[in-house]
Amino acid sequence: MVLPRSEMEFLQPESWAEALAVRAAYPEALPVAGGTDVMVELNFARRRPPALLDLGRVAGLADWGTEDGLLRLGAGVPYRRIVTELAGRAPGLAMAARTIGSAQIRNRGTVGGNLGSASPAGDALPPLLAAGALVELASVRGVRRVPVAGFCTGPKRSMLAPDELIAAVLLPPDAGPEQFAKVGTRNAMVIAVCSFALALRPVSRTVGTGIGSAAPTPVRAAAAEELLVAELPWADRAALPEPLVRRFGELVAAAASPIDDVRGTAAYRRHALGVLAGRAVRRAWAEHRRGGVRG
């Protein structure tokens, strides 16, 4: 019998085409971007892939720009750059990026990796849900764009095919007021007990939400979104009616299916989500009333 050893192959493509070719030829090779999830798994011996597919040298993967009228964010853009470069164009995502780990983790960690891990606690996912983002998946077979809402299929499971890589996420350009907040039991370096993201789109009079760490996958609060679409005083930007805020909080809390675990109780998570939702809509609406509509 041969026991697995710590030796493993390290594949380092330099172009996207090469990366996709390696991925197709060698699907057992585990992609690694910032490595902030992968290295933990390796250290804890939870995974022993025969090879690593390092995406760190792939040209263009850490670029962002506009494409087809959408904001295209390469899967390899680290959180630090999202915070410093995209706070205006993707405010919710930038707020979430600011809450992730520590400065070291934000220097390495990527949205591509957050999607790849598909953890229900991935902090980038609720703002992407709220914004209605698309995930661009690529393989030698071609490219597909899927809504982030369907990307995660269960805890740490996604629709990524064995020969696919995550190329980018695409965000609609008409960012309106966005909010993200996360509860943890310390003030930094903490996995979300629960989190909530909200995106108001005054131009289209639509609303997006995202709930983190309170269901097997990040989820939207559809009924809560519908409530705001129907009842926000879009036309005159009037003050928010308190009952609407309260009802919104209740519907967000109801959309979650949290559990009791070491990080918090289900009851707390529901309660906190209601509070976060109320605060988020108040802040976002206040921004809207101040005229903070972005084109």
Partner: protein, 816 residues
């Protein structure tokens, strides 16, 4: 053999290097023949010379015990029990032995000596004998040529368990007769009555020391049939005794050297991998290294005892205490470890630093099938303090007094007596410490920098959602070992010319665990011997025991021993001076003064203690800058001349003044050596809707008797306070049915830089006439009162009773 393979081992076989491992050289210091000096120039007591390990640690270059390496070494791994309680019907190691690369698989049957060990009672199996009593208990060990091979092979060992229902509730354990120790304290009238009575039940969760450097070390078989063990520990000689007993070897054949310690806080007082690595090394004839992983570390050491504390305080309407009745139950987990001493501390310190005429305390420690608990910074005093300080706040409310005022009214003072009847000798500035923190200016009001709001940068909380609260607490801790324990420390000091320069070599077995003890030893030698160059040898068992780096005792004890040995060297020099230059009689004779050198401080006016620095015993002679002068300032000789005849070496075993056992029925007795006090004022901002807390500022005041190294003193106060903050707000091993559910730094949360607030620190130096230089142990007191002060502040902000730590968001929002 070991010289070439171990970081920090002797490069020239001469045994000297600074620090635990790694051979630090302070800037500007020379190095000759493998001998290095610590600092230079000044740097005696009262200074804060650069510590030799500081820059290395900051740069990530310090060699910890997990960095030890031998070219031909094997790796050890441990198979642990998955059950909190089970019988072992059989163990089949065949599949593990069959794995290529595996050199040995050992079980309890392979332990040649005593199969059980323990600090106070030898009841913990080296490897499980017929049963397991906690989850994570070592059952078998493997040596292989690769760490992963060793781990995978261990997984192949088949153990036939007969699973039993674990006892995990300490109340059930107590009722079921699983008592480890009961300490009663009876003072005054047990039936005393009072006008105002407040009661409460409080709980303390299981805190972990959470050191960063996991249990690790390297065992090297020696040609004489013994073993050389390089390990991160708190007490080399306690390890040596237990390892030798388990190996069935005389202690001389088990030689330990301190490897680089990555934090301790009590968790390295008990054995972890020491016997296991030694057994494997002796069995295979190869060096064996063991390093625990993080999850393994959480089951690989003892924790702070969880506690249930019931208190009843009776007082006059003016808030003067009439009586305190308390019952304290401590969960010791599966084995005894230091539970008996922790129980005694909780009992004897159980009413806090207050004058209480009538006291009835019963403290119990019990065995359960939870993870074993033992030493952790504060050692029984932490749990009690959360109880009695919570009570003092209740009392303040009941009598309508300010929380500081009620404490000051009852404050213990010099000459006051403890519930044990022990009179507190020397300064006990309880009231003053409280007033110092009270009188500090208040921190600025809540601002809108998100990093200073509850929830930090996670964007949860706006300034208008915050309520502020302020809370106070004070604690008391015994310093050194108590209850008649023969507590001693040994130091060997050698003064000689190296490269023509007088150089002091200080050798002790005292464990530098990060607290700065190496630096302190060098400071004392500089002060006592008037030399600049001091070399502190790697701590090992070739010199007598220093006792444990615990109980806030090492600066007192090893510091005291180093001072005594230096003074013995000075006396020998003086004799040489008197006997003419040719006196070659000082050939390293050993003076064991057995405590006669104990209380040598010189008490000056106003309670300050003279340093004795450079004063040579007899006749007002001075030794400074390498020159001996008489009182008139005339030069009598130089160190260079006196040492030309050869080195002077003295070894001293030093003791603090004796203590006495507690009477088993009344709990009366002078059980403690010294008391230390610290007070805290905590200011917190709470987001009550989300249950999030940010500590805004902590003001703290502590009497340290004498700050031997002021910077290290501040470090202890800040670090201890942060550890107390951790217990108040987040640090808990969550144990359910005997299983730790959060054995990782992902879920065992310790405060980050964004959780630890600015600290305003007042240090008092009121000398204790019994202690070397008047010093008072510093390490533990700040941990003790930080926790209740923070919880008091949260209570003040929210109005909630909060009877349990850590306080979780659930407790603040009613969603637990």
């Amino acid at each position: 053999m070991t010289g070439q393979i171990l970081p920090g081992a002797r490069s020239d076989g001469s045994a000297w290097s600074v620090g635990a491992v790694g051979g630090a050289v302070a800037p500007g210091c020379g190095s000759s023949g493998g001998v290095r000096c610590v600092g230079g120039g000044v740097g005696g007591i009262g200074a804060s010379p650069v510590r030799p390990d500081g820059a290395l640690k900051v740069r990530g270059e310090f060699a910890f015990s997990s960095d030890l390496w031998a070219d031909d070494m094997l790796w050890g791994a441990t198979l642990r029990s998955p059950h909190p309680s089970a019988t072992i019907r059989g163990i089949d190691v065949g599949a593990a032995l069959a794995v290529p690369g595996v050199y040995a698989v050992l079980t309890a049957d392979d332990v040649p000596g005593d199969r059980h060990y323990g600090l106070e009672v030898a009841d913990q199996p080296v490897l499980a004998v017929d049963e397991v009593c906690y989850r994570g208990e070592p059952v078998a060990i493997v040596a292989a040529d690769h760490p992963e091979t060793a781990r995978r092979a261990a997984e192949r060992i088949v153990v036939d368990y007969g699973v039993r229902e674990p006892v995990t509730d300490p109340e059930v354990a107590l009722a079921g007769g699983r008592l480890v120790r009961h300490v009663p304290i009876r003072k005054g009238d047990p039936a005393a009555v009072a006008e105002v009575v407040v009661t409460g039940e409080y709980r303390v969760g299981m805190q972990d020391q959470a050191f960063l450097g996991p249990e690790s070390g390297l065992a090297v078989p020696a040609p004489d049939g013994g073993v050389e063990l390089y390990v991160a520990t708190q007490w080399l000689h306690a390890d040596q005794r237990q390892v030798a007993a388990a190996l069935g070897l005389p202690v001389e054949l088990v030689r330990l050297s301190l490897a680089g310690v990555g934090g301790a806080f009590g968790a390295r007082e008990d054995l972890s991998m020491q016997v296991h690595a030694s057994l494997l090394a002796l069995r295979t004839g190869r060096p064996v290294k063991m390093v625990y992983g993080r999850e393994e570390s959480f089951v690989g050491h003892v924790h702070r005892h969880p506690a249930i504390l019931r208190y009843e305080h009776g007082a006059t309407r003016d808030g003067e205490l009439v009586y305190v009745r308390a019952r304290i139950l401590l969960d010791g987990g599966a084995y005894t470890s230091t539970t008996p001493a922790v129980v005694a501390n909780a009992a004897s310190l159980g009413v806090g630093p207050y004058r209480v005429p009538n006291v009835t305390v019963d403290a119990y420690g019990v065995h359960t099938n939870n993870p074993p608990c033992g030493a952790m910074r504060g050692f029984g005093a932490v749990q009690a303090c959360f109880g009695y300080e919570s009570q003092m706040d209740r009392l303040a409310e009941a009598v309508g007094l300010d929380p500081v005022e009620v404490r000051v009214r009852n404050a213990l003072a010099e000459g006051g007596s403890m519930p044990t009847g022990q009179v507190v000798e020397g300064p006990a500035p309880v009231a003053r410490l409280l007033e110092l923190v009270r009188d500090r200016p208040a921190p600025p009001p809540v601002g809108d920098d998100p990093r200073q709001l509850p929830g930090g940068v996670a964007n949860t909380t706006a300034p208008e959602q915050v309520v502020r609260g302020v809370g106070y607490a004070i604690g008391i801790k015994n310093v050194c070992f108590s209850e008649g324990f023969d507590d001693h420390a040994t130091a060997r000091v050698r003064l000689e010319l190296i490269g023509g320069e007088p150089t002091a070599l200080v050798h002790t077995a005292a464990a530098e665990v990060g607290q700065g003890l190496v630096t302190v030893q060098a400071q004392i030698a500089r002060t006592e011997l008037g030399v600049e160059r001091v070399v502190v040898a790697t701590a090992d068992t070739s010199v007598g025991s220093a006792g444990s780096s615990s109980a806030s005792r090492q600066t007192y004890m090893t510091g005291g021993a180093v001072r005594a040995a230096c003074r013995a060297v000075r006396a020998a020099l003086l004799a040489r001076l008197a006997g003419g230059s040719g006196a070659g009689a000082d050939d390293g004779g050993v003076a064991d003064d057995g405590g006669a050198v104990g209380d040598g401080g010189v008490v000056g006016d106003g309670g300050t203690v003279g340093d004795g620095g450079g004063r040579v015993a007899g006749g007002g002679l001075e030794l400074a800058g390498g020159v001996i002068r008489d009182a008139a300032g005339r030069t009598l000789g130089t160190l260079v001349d006196l040492l030309a005849a050869g080195p002077v070496e003295r070894s001293v075993r030093w003791r603090h003044r004796p203590t006495r056992p507690l009477d088993p029925v009344t709990g009366q007795g002078d059980a403690h050596v010294q008391y230390a006090f610290a007070a805290h004022r905590a200011t917190v901002d709470v987001d009550p809707e989300l249950g999030l807390v940010r500590v805004v500022e902590i003001a703290t005041a502590q009497d340290v008797g004498r700050a031997i190294n002021p910077q290290a003193v501040l470090g202890q106060i800040q670090g201890g306070t942060a550890q107390g903050l951790g217990l108040a707000l987040m640090e808990e091993l969550q144990v359910v049915d005997g299983v730790i559910r959060n054995p990782s730094f992902t879920d065992y949360l310790i405060p980050t830089i964004l959780d630890v607030p600015p600290m305003a620190v007042d240090v008092l130096e009121l000398a204790d006439p019994h202690a070397p230089y008047g010093l008072r142990g510093v390490g533990e007191p700040p941990t003790i009162s930080a926790t209740p002060a923070i919880v008091a502040a949260i209570r003040a902000a929210t109005g909630l009773p909060l009877a349990r730590v850590p306080v979780r968001p659930e407790h603040l929002t009613g969603t637990g």
